[in-house]
Structures are given as structure tokens and as C-alpha cells.
Amino acid sequence: MSYVVPNINHSSSFWINLFLSNRALSGFIIILIYLAVASLFAYLISDHIAKIYRGEKTSISRYTDKFVNFFEKIIGEESKKEMKFREYFKSLIIFNAIAGIIAFIFLYFENMIPFNHSSFGMNLSLTVNTVVSFLTNTNLQHYSNPLRLTYFSQTFVLIGLMYLAPATAFAASMAFVRGILTEKGNLGNFYHDFLISIFELFLPLSLLITIFLILLGIPETTLSVLNVHPFFSGSTVPIPLGSVASWESIKNLGTNGGGFYGANAAFPFENPNWITNMIEFTSFILIPLGSIISLGKVFEKRQFGQMLFGVIMAFFILGAAITFIGEYVGIPALSSLGITYTGNLVGKETSLGIAQSSIFAVGATMTSTGASNGALISYTPLGILGVLVPLLMNDPLGGAGTSVLNIFTFVIFTAFIASLMVGRLPEIMRIKLGSREIKYSTLSLITHPLIVMIPLGFTLAYSFAMGTFVNSQPDRITSLLYEYTSSASNNGSEIGGFLTNQAFFNYMDSLVMLLGRYLIIGFQLVIAQSLSAKAPKAEGENAVRLGSFPFAVTLFSVMIIVGLLSFFPVLVLGPLLSLARDFGLVVGEIL
């Protein structure tokens, strides 16, 4: 293995030279550029999202109103009435359940449906897992796509769910915000909120992104395959085609993350170059970050929005730095063999490199997207740690819609502790927090670690489940922890390293995904219901200011402590032990 440093002479500019010769520095700069671009667009969209949250007309309302009204007429009375928690949550669950059942029927019987070019079909457990994972915005994809899916299933059933899932969560976040803003004791109407999210947010934006992606060369066609004849072999390699661009746009925009192709964004037809890489990264950051920035406008506390942005960025930079350093340093054992080693590029798209792969991977777990442009199983233990830690904190930035719900589980709890620490009764957005809000906030907070640790312990205790793991023991634990945290946080990224498509994991993951999705939405909506009945008190100088720096530090620490205290023992036996092994602290002991 040898590596030739490109001999580019840019002596004319000191900075360009520095950028090209110092790969660590240029890597960090690339990461910061990605974050800056994504933040810029998130900031631009935040005004639009704030208007949606406040229930105001947006700049596109005059076009979208017709569609919303049309569908509301079809739904009838149900779409008009004001709902309390019970009704709202019931509508959400029933609506999702019906969609899930329809999707299940289409997938399970897909071979009987036209446009079936080459599908292998799916068995029961895989179908259940696939439907649940797309319904809960997880997209674990235990199937090998697109081989097991017909184009009909890909284009209509799964893309349909990819719109439905984020719009459901976004509707829930609208109800949550409404609960804080209003004092009538109602959460609004689920169907209305759902239609608004579809027509005002997801459809127009995904249309726009699809056009860009098509222009950049991503396929959107009804052709079944592209036959490639590699010049070094006589055989023909068929590459499946389909509605890749439209899939790709909602995959990222809706923080779904499941790829059209098995290799996800590492496949050239999904992500051909650095521009599409940046567009895709930006589009999955767009709505979660935009919603969080918009909170400053929604609650008329600009500082609150800035504070959340700051905390999220701190996690983002921290995670990206850990992963980047881990991948950049690579495995020292190889360097010591005298190889000119340029960092760990195994399983990465070389045209993107370490920095662009690291920020993409961390972005995918900071949000609940889970898309990947490289193979996580080839990442170094430190590299995995930067990707895994956000997952342990239940995706700090969350998904489309869940961003607001997730961040508020931490904000409410931090407000509770911080208020006590200054001798005030807890309040948030000028509304007093009672024991009911704290109880449900605690429940949302502990749901994530519980639905990860219980299945994890269970799986480890039954050796049959661990039969297909191929790596060494600490890596197996990392893989397993990653699998369940990814399901629980509805993220969907995977390290793999074992046969995921087995009945045990298909069902266990489905259960974890369902609980991780609907329990937290439910708990947060109960809190919203409880807050919606309370009138806000006066803006007091002496309440804990949620936008202040001490609060930001407290929030940051609480997220780290609550997130990590639950998982530290597993981390020690997983990535930290692998790290010790890779750095040759004691060679060969565990293997």
C-alpha cells in the first residue's frame, strides 16, 4: 500500500498550500464548512417553520391551502374539531396503524402486483420489520435493497411511508408547540397538522431537492436496469434503476435515511459527488435544525433559539471531531509497520475522504436520519464513538418534528433542576411545571435507555441470537448496542457485523422502534396537554433564563450525564475496549 501525495504547486497562496498540506486542518475546515452551510439553510427555513408553528399563513399558503382544504373536505368533520391529548394521540396512532397495515399488505404480497421486475419477496418477520421501520422514520432496512423490493413497493409504498412518518412527527411537534403557546386546553387537530406538514413543508421542499438531484445526475426513471460492461470482465453487471432522485430527496429531508440502494449514500447513483453529498447533508439537517432555531421566534425568545443552536452545535462539533480524529489517526498498528498511512479510508468513498465521511456519519446520528456514505463497520473504535454517542443521547438534534419533542425532554428536565438550584419553582416559557409534567418528562427521558438496555441484556443472555456475529467480542457488543440504540432512537443507521435479517432481530427491533417512537410522542403530548391548560405568567427577571449561558452549560451537562450514565458500562466493554485493543495496550488478550 502506498500513497502518493499529489504534487500540486500553489506557492502563490500560503493559505491554499496550508489547506492542502495540513490534512487535519483542512479536515476540520471542511467539517465547519458543512456545518455553516447547513446552519445557513436551516436559518433561512426557520422563518417558514416558525410561521407553521404559530399557525400563521406562510408565503406559499395561497397555493397549498387548496390542497389542504380539498383533503380536509374528504376527511370531513374529523379534520375540523379541536382535539385534546386523548383524541389527538388516538387519531395519530390509528392513522399510522392503518397506513402500516396497508403498507404491510402491499409489501407482503408484492409479487402479485405489477411492475415487479426482479423481487425476491419478503418473509413475514422481514416485512413486519420493514413496515415498522419505515413507519417510525427509522429505516433499518434489514432487506437487501432494491433486490427484495418491487419498484411499485419502492416508489409508492415506501416513499409514501417516508412522507407519512416525518409528517406525523412534525404534526406532533406542532401540537406540542401549540400546547405551550395556547391556554385553551386543546392541542389542535391532527389531520389538519398532518396536511399542513405535508403540503407546506415536505412536498414543496422535496420537489425542489429532487430537481437539484436530477440535475446533478441522480437517476429518476422507469427503466428497470442499467447494464454495465466493465472492460476488465466479460460479464454484464445489471444496476437496478428507478425513482432514485425522488426517493433520495425525501429520504434526507424527512430524516428517514433508508437508501434506495443497499449501500445508501455510498452508492454513486445515490450520491455521486461532493455537491450532492453536501446537498444531502444539508437536507437532513434542514428541518430538525430549522425547527429548533424557529423555537426562538415561536416563543419570542430569540436567545432560547440561539442557546439550543449553540448546544446542538457543541455536540455536533464534538462528535465530528472525535470521529474525524479517530479516522484520521486510524489504526496505529498499521503505521508501526512502516506503511505510509493516510488515515482509515477502508469503507469510505475516496472522492469524499475522511472529513466529508465523518461529518456525514455524525450528522446522520445527530439527527434521526441514519443515512451513511461509508461502511460504519470499517470505522475505528474512536470513529464509532463519535457516531454512537449522539445515538445514546437519543439523537440530540432529532428528526423532522421529533427534534422539538426530543430537545424538550431535556429542556424541561434541565429547567426543573436549574430552577431548584436557584430556589424557584420550575417553569418553562413562563408556564409553571407541575409534578405531572416532571413525571412524564422523566418517563420520556428513561424510555430510551430502558428500551435499549433491556433487549441488549436479553440478547446477550441468549446465545442463539449472538450466533452470527463475526467480529471480536468488544466489536460485537458495539454492533449490538448500535443496533438497539439506532432502533430506539428511530435513527436506522447500522454497523452490521451480523445477520440482521433473522426473525429474532426483525421482531425485537420492531418492538424497540415502535416503543421508541410512539411512547415518546405520547409522553410529550401528555406534557403539552398539561401545559396547554395553563396560562403563562409574567416575564420575570428572576426566572431562570432559558437563553442564558449558564443554562446552556447545564443543558449540555444534563444531556451528557443522562445520556452517558445509562450506557457507560456498555461503552467500556464495547468501543473503549476495542480502542484499548487497537492502540496495542495489551495485544491479543481479548482475541
Partner: protein
Amino acid sequence: MKFKLNSEKIKSTVIATFKQFNPVFELRNPVMFVTEVAFLFSVVMAILPSYFGLPVTGNYPEFYFSVIILLFLTLLFANFSYAISEGKSKAIVASLRKLRKETLAHRLKSDGTIEEVKSSDLRKGDMFVVEKNEEIPTDGEVIDGSGYVSESSITGESRPVLRIVGDSVTGSTTLTTDRIKVRASSDPGETFIDKMIDLVNKSTREKTPNETALTAFLAGLTLIFLIVTASLYPLSDYMGISPNLMILIVLLICLIPTTIGALLSAIGIASINRISKYNIMAKSGKAVENAGDIDTIIVDKTGTITIGDRDAKKFYPAPGVDYSDFVKYCLMASIPDKTREGISIAKLARIEGAKISEDDVKEYTFLPFSAETKFSGIEKADESIIKGALSAIERKYGIKDQYIEGISKEISSRGGTALPVVRNGKFVGVIELADMLKPGIRERIESIKKMDIKTIMCTGDDEITAQQISLESGIDEYVANSTPMDKYQVVLLEKEKSRMVAMVGDGTNDAPALAKADVGLAMNSGTQAAKEAANMVDLDNDPTKLLDVIFLGKQVLITRGALTTFSFANDISKYFVILPAIFASFSSLSYINILDLTNPLLAITSALIFNTLIILALLPLALRGVTFRPASVSDILKRNIGLYGFGGVILPFIAIKVIYMLLLAGGVTW
């Protein structure tokens, strides 16, 4: 706070401590319940080690024994903290009960005759007579006569206080002069002392909403740690280490928030005990916590900012009025006026040489001062002498006088109060009354303002006096020329801005405002209506105590928050001690053993010793409350996050290392 040691108290505390081991008592506290179950489990495991696959070779038996002892001590300390605070409440209740003894009462029958009944036979609305040096049988309102009452039995203040018609008196206090007629204001079992006993008793049983929320949160985290520890069993099993259940139990106990769990109920009870020590009766623990949350306090000038009533300082006759005549008029108008103001005018007038006795004003009718009219005086057919607020008098008689106005302004500008006197509708002069700021009030107002709490002063005085006093004392806003109804308006106005309001009041007129305020502190000397409307009553009649109550409320909340934060911050360092010890067989993991504790069993024991001793070390803090210095919210947050958050991460590292070294030095080598 002194806890006097005598054998009786020690005995009852010890008994109460051990009674708490009953798991039924622990159920209300999930953290300690889990600890108790873990303790019982560890005992069983130590007895049957082979059944649980525990190694018994080498130093293991000693280790198991010390774990059992330490777990027992953890429970003991938790129960002890509860027993101490409960013991204090019991002592308070017992001393209150002693007051509630049966006495003889002279009940007035409807025909005016007196019958002797037992105090417990008195019902609300009954009238009775109290003679000199008799104990007042039950709570009531004075309806005839006046006299000095010694309240030393409940307030500890030995100086008797004057009680006049309309004032309320408390059962079990003693009338030291004169004879009064009283209307009973409560049925047996509902008197003031009964209510107080009830409150103190309740504080050991009932949780405030805030405590409930915190308990729920602690329960949630305990559940997580339970699952985390349980999952370590299959996890280490899978990694090929045979998991030692006893060590997992130690890990569990170190992770669950035992510190706050052990001290939580003690904090709440201690706060009620402390407020009782202040001689304040709070109607609920919630009221005390609310006090910590106040945005605005509304105070009266008189009594809170300035010393009680004002003393007469100087007489200024109007031009053309003879000095001695003016003094005589003042004396005449003040003789029937039994307020302290009136008495002080009469006293000064006599010093100035006026000679008028009570008989001389017999044929005059007395017009008592009222907050509405704002003047008092005497009148008969052809003569009237009125003294009162300038604006009120100008309005009443429609007169104006430049000289009087000038003098009044001058007096006001030096913080005094001008009391113009009018005889037969003509100004005859001005009495200067001096207002004195209470000692230390400036500093207290300053500290209140540091907490960003707005202060509003209500006073019946004119604009200039009000302005002067608020300038001197540092009050933010004032309402001059106010009547008690205005106070209600101020409360309403602040409530409309959704601010939390605290106020002090004593008159019947204050009752609506007291009821509307979030924290209403009534004076024990005040009317029954005021005491009923308020949610706290001060036995010492010291309005400044409102500030103490606010401090106390904040202190309770901060103590809870600080100990919770500390408890969780500790977990980080305990992880770094126990996990390397559990996984000691992976020598490659030594890089997370940042304390370099090479002996695993000793390291685990050190962590558990720290976990146990910290409860005892923090017990005084829980009972006394954390130190609270008034400052802005942001500063307090910074300080407490630093002290209890980051301090809570660092302290255990140091302490556990020290304990480990001490154990080594002491010759413990396992």
C-alpha cells in the same frame, strides 16, 4: 439549630430510626426501598455464597461482610436523618400539645349572667370574659375592654402586648392586666394551636407537589440504574468474566441517588420545623415553597419599613395661634385617641406644659381614626378639633393654607409626617411626627432587590413622605395616600401581570388582598378575617419576617436541587472507580482507571464507604439548608452548578482516593 442531647431524645430517635427499617415505610421513597431490598439480598448472598456462585476464597468473605455493614449503615443514616427531623417535629408538637390544656372559662349567657364551663365546651361565636391574670381559654376576638396579654407561651416574647377591641387573642396566652370580653372564633380542635400541630404532623407524611415531582424523577433514574446494573450480568458473562453479584449490588447502590434519596424527606420536614422556629404558622408546606417563587412583595410602610407608630416630635402653631393654645388643642384631640400616635402626642403636649385631664373632654364625642377618613378628633355642638392627613382635611373643609402646606412639605422632605390640626374648620397648626426606619431594613431591601424581586410600599402618607421613605429604604415603587382597598388593587394589578405576589396584612380590610396574594402573611394580632385569608400567620407580629419566609422558601428548593445535582455528579466518578475494578481482568482497560486504584475489591469498598459517609456528611446541610446568598438568578445558577455540579464530580475522586490510601495505610490489603 441545636439538637439538645438528652437520654430521652436519643432513645426516641434511635427507636424511630430502627422503626424505619420496616420496608412499608421505605416504599414511599423508591431509592431507599431499592437500597433496603439490595441490603436484604446481600445478607442472603453472604449466607449462601455458593448458591449465588460467589467466590469464597481469600479476602472475599471479609469483603462481603464489609458490604453488608456499609449497606446497613447507608440505610441507618437515611433512617436516622428522617428520625432526627421527625423527632424535632415531635418535640414541637409535644410542646404545642402542652399548651392545649383544659382551663376554666367564664361564658357569658344571653341574659348577661356568667357560667363556668370547660374551655373545650366553648363553641365558635360564644362570648366569654377573661379576668386579670387568667389564661385565655380559646382563640377569639376582643369585643369589649382592652388589656395587656402575655403571649410568652407561644412566641417566647415576655413583654405583654396591648390588645384592644377588634384585635384577636390566642388561646393559652395570659391576660396580665384589666378585664376583656371575647367572642370565640373557633370550635375546639380548630384553634390556632390545633392547626399548628396538624401542620407539623402533616409535614412528616405529606409531600409537596415539588417533592412529588422530584421523587418521581428519582424513581425513574433508579429504574434506569437497576436495568443498567442488571444488564451488566449478561454483558460480563458474554465477555467471559464471571460476574460477582455482590459487586453488582455495590455498583447499583453507588449509582442510584442514595444521597438525595436518604435526605429528601428530612429536607422537607426540616423546612417546616424551621419556619415554626421563626414563630410563623404556615398553612401548608406548599406555601413555604411558593414563598421562594415570589416576584413582587407588597409591604406597608408602617411596621415593615418604619418602626411601628410614629412619635410626635414638635408642634408648629399657625401664624396668629398661641403656642400653648395650640398644644392644648392637640392634647384635647389626642386624649381619647388611644393609638400610639395619639398617646405620644398627649405625652409631648404634657411635657410642653398643657394641662388637660380626661374629664375635661368628657362632653366631646370622639371621632376615631379610620383608613377611609384619614383623620381623628373630637367634637361637640360648638367646637371640633380634627387632626389628620392634609389632603383629607383640605377635602373635608374645602380650605387651603399656604403656610400649613409649606410646613407640611418641609416636614415630609425630611422623612417625617405632618399632621395638620384644624379647630372649627380653621388650621391652627401642624404636629410633626417622626418616622424611623427599622434598623437593618435597608440591607434587607437591598438583598431582596438582588434577587430581582420588586418591592412596592403602600402608605396612607402623602406623596412626599412616601417618596422620601422609599428613597431612604431603597423600595422600588410606592403607592401614596393609599387605603386598604388600594392594596387590593395593587395585588390585582400585579396578578394581572401574572406575577407571584407576597404581602403582609393585619386588618379586616386586608383580607381580600391577603386571599388574592400567592403568599399572604397575617399578623397574629390582626383580625380573625385577615388571619383566615392569609396562608401564613406570624406569631411575633413582625412584618419584616416576610423576607425571612422568602429566603427560607428559596433555601428549601435550592437544598433539594443542590443535593440532587450533587448525587448525580457523583455517579461519574464512581463509575470511574467501580468499572475498572469490575473489569480488572482486562488489563488493557487500565486507561479508564484514572485514579490508579490497583486493588479492585479495595477500590469498590472505598467507593461504597464514600457513598455511605457522604449521607452523614451532608445531613447537617439538609437540616440547616444550603447557604443562600441573595444574588441574581444567573449568578446563583453559576455558583451552584459550579459548587454542586462540578464539585460533585471532583470531590468523590479525591475522597475515594483518600479513603483507599487510608485503608491501605490501615493495613487492609485485600
